[in-house]
């Protein structure tokens, strides 16, 4: 049998119905060499304390459900290997989001912000299906492909110092997604997104801390998207490039 190492975890516990203040519960968890923090949380729930609440799904860095703070850094717990940490490992819910229970946060505001940038292809006139697909060259795809890698894990929102002080800020993921569709050669909806993206709570609230890009687990560069979107918004505002030509 593979060797187990006992690792101490401090996990934030909080039930808004019963608790007035969050607390840290300590668990000593026998961990295997290849375990990630999510495995340890599942072991706590299965074998030590079934009242622990945390969110997870795919366990392979795709679904974006298991984002938490591990030793203060926003990470996907399914990709955070226990062996890479020394001493006690502290696990907390993502900051800048209301806490539903323990490690589960309410992502409602995040979803609202994502929806506000209309993250879908907008066409003035839709082609009939019989007319075939919208063709796109590899160069056109390359212009936005990295932004479509976002898995909506919200780690960038927990890392953003602007969001920590201005909760109204549209935020990195939503702006990157709106910019992704603006850059898509098949899309004609940049005018519909302009008011949201170019708002004072939109791209102009970003002061380029660049922390979003530092923590992104999929190597998207939201900070780059925001800076590009700023230039786009300024040029549209100056009418150097049109914003209503296709809508």
């Amino acid at each position: 049998m593979a060797e187990m190492r006992v690792v101490k975890f401090e996990v934030l516990r909080f039930g808004p119905e019963t608790d007035t203040e969050p607390r840290f519960d300590t668990y000593e968890v026998p961990c295997m060499e290849d375990w990630v923090v999510l495995d340890a949380l599942n072991a706590i729930k299965d074998d030590i304390d079934p009242t622990l609440s945390h969110r997870w799904s795919c366990r392979m860095g795709v679904c974006g459900s298991c984002g938490m703070l591990v030793n203060g850094r926003p990470v996907l717990t399914c990709a955070a290997f226990v062996r890479n940490y020394t001493g006690t490992i502290r696990v907390e819910p993502l900051s800048n989001f209301p806490v539903v229970r323990d490690l589960v946060v309410d992502l409602g505001s995040f979803i609202d912000k994502i929806k506000s940038v209309k993250p879908w292809i907008i066409r003035k006139i839709e082609k009939d299906v019989g007319q075939g697909e919208y063709r796109q060259s590899p160069e056109q795809l390359a212009e936005f492909k990295q932004y479509s890698m976002c898995i909506n894990c919200a780690l960038c929102y927990a890392a953003c110092p602007v969001l920590a002080s201005e909760p109204e800020f549209l935020g990195p993921a939503a702006i990157a997604l709106g910019h992704r569709y603006n850059m898509d050669s098949r899309d004609e909806g940049n005018a519909e997104r302009f008011d949201t993206l170019a708002d004072a709570d939109g791209v102009w609230a970003c002061s380029y801390a660049n922390e979003c890009s530092q923590v992104c687990p999929k190597h998207v560069d939201p900070a780059m998207a925001i800076q590009q979107a700023k230039l786009t918004s300024a040029l549209q505002w100056l009418h150097v490039v049109p914003k209503k030509s296709f809508t």
Binding site: L69, D187, Q227
Partner: protein, 142 residues
Amino acid sequence: MSHAQTRTSSTPTAPARKPSGFPLGWRRYRSYTLFAFTCIPMAISGLLLLQGVSALGQGEQAWAAWLAGLASPGMVALNLFCLAFTLYFAFRFGWVGRKIAAGRIGPIPAPGLPMPILGIAPLGGFVTLWIVLLLILGGAIG
């Protein structure tokens, strides 16, 4: 437009938790604040420059007195302080410039000039206007 949470839910929640140590105990916020703070040393640099241009406009004696004032240890320290923050801002702003190059916007054809030039041009215009303003306020032209 507000992006605040608008949905109502029957699920009780606790308020959003701020990052540990927020604001200035949090490394990410310190870095963010440091960048914002660069405006103060840069403003001091601008005022010193304005004072120098003004002295230049007043004649040789005023110019010599201004130069002599710059030689004091306190002024040297202040200028080094301002230089450090101005360089920090310049490098970081340059990093942003590297990122703003965008090919085009949706199906809209690319503008005639390359995007990096379109991005840098307003900055160049701003710097030019600032220098002209300094020269006018300092009495060197106008």
